[in-house]
C-alpha cells in the first residue's frame, strides 16, 4: 500500500489542494453559471407555457366569437327571410288590388266611352238627316221648280231615309 502511494506520488498536500480547488470551483460555478442559467431556463419555460396558455385562451375566445357571429348571421338571415316574405305578400296584395281597381276603372271608362260614342252617333245621324233633308229639298226644288210643301218634304224625307237605311 505504501509502495503504491509512493509510486503514484500521492501527497496529502496535493489531495487537499485539489479538494480545495474543486470546492472553490463548485462554489463559483454555482454562483456564476448554474444559478443564472437555470434561472433563465426556468423563466423561459414559464414564459413559453404562459404564451401557450394565452394562445389557447385566445383560440377559445375566437371560437366563441365565431360561434356567436354565426348565430347572429343565422338570426339575421331568418329575419331577412321573414321580411322578404311579408314584403312579397303585401306586394302581391297591392298588385292584386291595383289589378282589380284598374279593371273596374277600365270598365267604367269603356262604358262612358260607349255612351258618349252612341250619343255622338245619335247626334251625327240627326245632323246628317237634317243635312240630307236640306239637300233633298234643294234638289227637288231645282228639279221640279216648285218649292215643296212642308208635308211633301216630310214625306220625301221619310222615304229617302228608308232607302238609305235599308
Amino acid at each position: 500500500m505504501e509502495q503504491i502511494i509512493k509510486d503514484f506520488g500521492i501527497q496529502p498536500v496535493f489531495l487537499a489542494a485539489q479538494v480545495v480547488n474543486f470546492l472553490v470551483l463548485l462554489f463559483l460555478l454555482k454562483r456564476f453559471l448554474y444559478k443564472p442559467i437555470l434561472k433563465v431556463l426556468d423563466e423561459r419555460k414559464k414564459t413559453i407555457s404562459k404564451s401557450l396558455q394565452d394562445a389557447q385562451e385566445i383560440e377559445q375566445r375566437l371560437q366563441k366569437t365565431v360561434e356567436e357571429q354565426e348565430k347572429i348571421l343565422i338570426k339575421a338571415a331568418k329575419e331577412a327571410a321573414g321580411l322578404i316574405d311579408s314584403a312579397t305578400k303585401s306586394a302581391d296584395l297591392i298588385i292584386s288590388e291595383a289589378h282589380t281597381k284598374a279593371s273596374l276603372n277600365m270598365e267604367e271608362m269603356m262604358e262612358k266611352t260607349r255612351q258618349s260614342l252612341s250619343a255622338e252617333k245619335e247626334k251625327l245621324s240627326q245632323e246628317v238627316r237634317a243635312e240630307v233633308a236640306n239637300l233633298l229639298t234643294l234638289g227637288f226644288e231645282k228639279i221640279t221648280g216648285k218649292a215643296l210643301s212642308k208635308q211633301d218634304q216630310e214625306e220625301l224625307l221619310q222615304k229617302s231615309m228608308k232607302d238609305i237605311n235599308g
Partner: protein
C-alpha cells in the same frame, strides 16, 4: 525528444510551503477557464439567448435533464456537484490535448501536464465524490437510518452491510483509477505515437482521446450521480 513516462507529478516550485506541481498549475488554469466562460456567458443573461449563452445553456440543460431524471426531488442539491465534476474533468481532459502540454519545459520539467494523469487529482475528486455521497445520505436519511445501511443485528444483514461498506472504499478506488488510467494511458499513447512519427499519425489518436476525455467525464459524473441517488434512497425492501 525523450519520452518520459512518469507516474508522479513534477513539482515546479514552492508557493510558500505549498508545493506547486504541474498538474496543480493546470487545474488552476482549468478553473480560470471555466470561470471566464461562465462569467462571459452569464454577464448579460437574456431570455432569448445568443452566442455563448446558447452553448452554455445547451450543456447545462443537458446535464440538468440527465440529473433530474435520476435524482428527481434531490436534483437541486446533486446537480451542482455532478455538473462541476463533468465540466471540470471534461475541460481538463480536452485542455490536456492542446499543444504545449508535456512539451514546454521549465527547469527541465514539463510545465503543463494533463490533470487527470496524476492520481492525486483523480483521487481527490473521488474522495470529494464519496464524502458528498455519504453526506447527502446522512442528510436525507438521518444518522440512524444511514448507520442501519451498514450495521444490523441480523448477522446475515450485518455481513452484507459490512461487505457494502468495503465496496464504498472500492468505489473511491475505481472512480479514481478509472479516470487516471484512461487519461494517463492516453498521454502515454500520444507521446509514444508522436515519438514514432510526429506528423499526421497521431491525429486519429487525438480524435480517440477527445472521445475518451468526454466519455470519462461523463462516466465520472454518471457514477457519482448514481452513487449519490442510491445511497440517499430509503431502504424499502428491509425485512
Amino acid at each position: 525528444m525523450e519520452s518520459h513516462i512518469v507516474l508522479t507529478p513534477e513539482i515546479l516550485g514552492y508557493m510558500g510551503s505549498l508545493p506547486v506541481s504541474n498538474t496543480l498549475l493546470v487545474s488552476w488554469m482549468v478553473m480560470g477557464f471555466l470561470l471566464i466562460i461562465s462569467v462571459l456567458a452569464t454577464k448579460n443573461v437574456q431570455l432569448v439567448p445568443t452566442g455563448l449563452q446558447n452553448l452554455v445553456e445547451l450543456v447545462i440543460e443537458g446535464i440538468y435533464n440527465t440529473v433530474s431524471e435520476l435524482a428527481q426531488e434531490k436534483t437541486k442539491v446533486i446537480f451542482p456537484v455532478v455538473a462541476t465534476f463533468f465540466l471540470f474533468i471534461l475541460t481538463a481532459n480536452w485542455l490536456g490535448l492542446l499543444p504545449g502540454f508535456a512539451t514546454i519545459t521549465y527547469k527541465n520539467l514539463p510545465l503543463l501536464r494533463s490533470i487527470n494523469s496524476d492520481l492525486n487529482m483523480t483521487l481527490s475528486l473521488a474522495l470529494v465524490s464519496a464524502v458528498i455521497t455519504h453526506g447527502l445520505a446522512i442528510r436525507y436519511l438521518g444518522v440512524i437510518d444511514y448507520l442501519k445501511k451498514w450495521f444490523s443485528f441480523n448477522p446475515i444483514f450485518l455481513f452484507v452491510g459490512l461487505l457494502e461498506l468495503v465496496s464504498e472504499f472500492t468505489k473511491i478506488v475505481s472512480l479514481s483509477f478509472r479516470l487516471f488510467g484512461n487519461i494517463f494511458a492516453g498521454e502515454v499513447v500520444l507521446s509514444t505515437v508522436a515519438g514514432i512519427f510526429a506528423f499526421l499519425i497521431p491525429l486519429p489518436f487525438y480524435f480517440l482521446e477527445i472521445i475518451v476525455g468526454f466519455v470519462q467525464a461523463a462516466v465520472f459524473m454518471m457514477l457519482s450521480l448514481v452513487f449519490m441517488v442510491l445511497l440517499s434512497e430509503k431502504h424499502t425492501n428491509e425485512h
